[in-house]
C-alpha cells in the first residue's frame, strides 16, 4: 500500500529511506551526537538510536539557536538523516537543513507522526512537498 501526503516545501531535494519517527521534539545541540548520528538526549524515546541516512520524522525542533551547526556538521560528516519531515518546521531545524542541504517538508495534509511508523519506507520530494510512504507490513 502506498500513501501519498502533500505538504509544504521547506528545503528542496529528493531522498528516500527507512523512517525513524518520534513524537518528541528534538534538540540537535546536546541531543544528537554529530560524529555518530545517534540521539543522545537522556530519556528521549530515541535515545541510543541512529538517524543517519534515515527519513527522520519529528514534530519540531527545540533548544539552542546553535542547533543548526550540529545539523550542518552531520551533513559534512555523512551522519545526517537523508531527509526530515516535521509537523511544523521552525528556524533552528530549517536553518540547519538549509546549511546542510537536507530535504525538509512540513505541514502535511495528515499528521506524519501518525501516518508514518518507524521502519516504513519513505520517499521525500522536497521540491514538490510530496511524501510517499510504503508501509512496512506490505514488505
Amino acid at each position: 500500500m502506498k500513501i501519498i501526503l502533500k505538504g509544504r516545501k521547506v528545503i528542496g531535494g529528493v531522498a528516500e529511506g527507512e523512517a525513524v519517527v518520534t513524537k518528541e521534539p528534538v534538540s540537535f545541540l546536546g541531543g544528537v551526537n554529530p560524529d555518530k548520528g545517534i540521539v543522545v538526549e537522556r530519556g528521549h524515546e530515541l535515545e541510543g538510536k541512529s538517524i543517519t541516512g534515515k527519513i527522520f520524522v519529528f514534530p519540531h525542533g527545540k533548544g539552542s539557536t546553535a542547533g543548526p551547526y550540529i545539523i550542518y556538521a552531520m551533513a559534512k560528516r555523512k551522519t545526517a538523516p537523508a531527509a526530515m519531515i516535521n509537523v511544523e518546521a521552525e528556524p533552528i531545524i530549517a536553518v540547519g537543513a538549509a546549511m546542510g542541504n537536507i530535504p525538509l517538508v512540513d505541514r502535511l495534509d495528515k499528521n506524519p507522526l501518525e501516518a508514518i511508523a518507524t521502519g516504513d519506507w519513505v520517499r521525500v520530494d522536497g521540491d514538490r512537498g510530496v511524501v510517499e510512504i510504503i508501509k512496512k507490513e506490505d514488505g
Partner: protein
Amino acid sequence: MNLTDREKRMLDGAFGTGPQSAMRLLATLGEIYGAERMIPVSSCHVGGRSYLISGEENIEWMTDLLNGGARFQVFTSTNPCSADSERWKEMGLPEELVVKQRRADEPYLKMGAVPLGSCLPYQLGNVPLPGTHFAWGGSAGATFVNSVLAARGNREGSPSVIAAAIAGVTPEYGLHLKENRYGKVLVDLSGLDHSSLCLSDYSAIGSYVGRTLLDKTPVVVGLPQTVSQDQIRFLISPMPTAGAISLCHIVGITPEAPTVEAALGGKKPADKISVGLREMQSSFEKLTTTRQEDVDLVCFGCPHCSIPQIRQIASLLEGRKVHANTRLWVATSGHLKVMAQLMGYVEIIEKAGGLVLTDLCVAPGAPFHLVPGVKTVAINSARGAYFIPGACNLDVIFGDTEDCIAAAITGRFRRSR
C-alpha cells in the same frame, strides 16, 4: 516569496556557492515566517564567533562559504569571544583555546568583518542609520538598536546574520514590519526613587520585566529625564534573556514612542504592570544560585563596560588590593580600553590586581569554567547572571557594582542592602 532577479540569480548560484548558500538560508527563513520579500540591510553584527559556542562546525561552515566566494557586502562587525588573545596566560586559560579562537576568526576577517570584538558596536562605529534595517546577533545590541536608534531588526542566531551580511538582504518579517513593533504592555517605573538606583538595579528591573512580559513588547514610563545610555542599556539588555523581548519602547526616548499612544499604536494596552522595590529585589535573589559567600572571580562587562563604568570601578578600587584568592576581570572593547588607559583607569584597576580585558565575552561565551579553581562568579548584571550557570556550569551571584568590588577585595560576597 517574491525575489528580485539578483536574488534569484544568487539562489541559482550565479555568484558562487557561498552566496548561494546564504540566499538559500534567507529564502528558507522568509518562507517559514511568511515574508513577502527581501529588504536591504545597512548594518550587520555577528555573534557566535566564540569557539566555546560554535566550535569546529562554525569554522567548517564559514570556510565553505569563504571558499565558495562569499564576502560581507555590508558593514559587519564582530561580537566578543572566549578569550583575550594577549592575556590568556594571566587569565589562567589554556593556550589551546586562543589558538582555536584565532583559527575560528580567520574566515570572518577574510570575508571582511571589522573585528570590534564587542557587544557595544554602536559605541564603536557600527551605528545603523535611522529608518534602515539591520541584522545583528547578540541580543543585547539588537534590542538597543531597536529601542533607541530607530533602525529595525530581529534578534537572530548567527547563521542568518552571516547570510544577510553576504547577501546584503534579509527577509522582511517580525520587527522589520511596523505593525509588529507597537507596544503591548504598559510598564510603570514611576513608583521607584530613581536617584537611589544603581546600574545593577536597572538590570534587575529589566530582568523582572522580561520574565513577566515574556514576548510582549513593553512600553516603559516613569524614567527620569536624566536617564543615561548605560542605565537604558542595563534596563533593556536582560529583556531578551529573561523573556523574548527585542524591542522596548521607552516613552520620550524611543523614536517611535514620543507618547504612550504612539508607542501603543493607538490601541489600549493588553496589560499594565508597576515595578517597585520588591519586584526589583526579586531578580537579585532569583538569579543568584548559591548561598556560599566565597567568590573566586568577580567580573564586569555583560554587556561590555563603558567608560563611565570603568571610571566607577577604578574609583572604588583606588588604593586597594584584590584578595589573593579572587580574580577581578573588567571586560570592554579594544577602543574603550585605549581611552581608559589614557584616562589612567586601567593603571588603577591593574595596580589593585584586576585585569582590564578586551575581545572577551563574560557571559554566553565565557571561559570561567576553564580557569583553575573557579567555582563561583559574582557579576553586576542580570544578563550575565542569567548566562553563566548554563554556559559554564558554575554558581553565580548577582550583586550590585559596589558589593561586587567589595567581594573582590575581601574574597567574600555580602549584600549591603
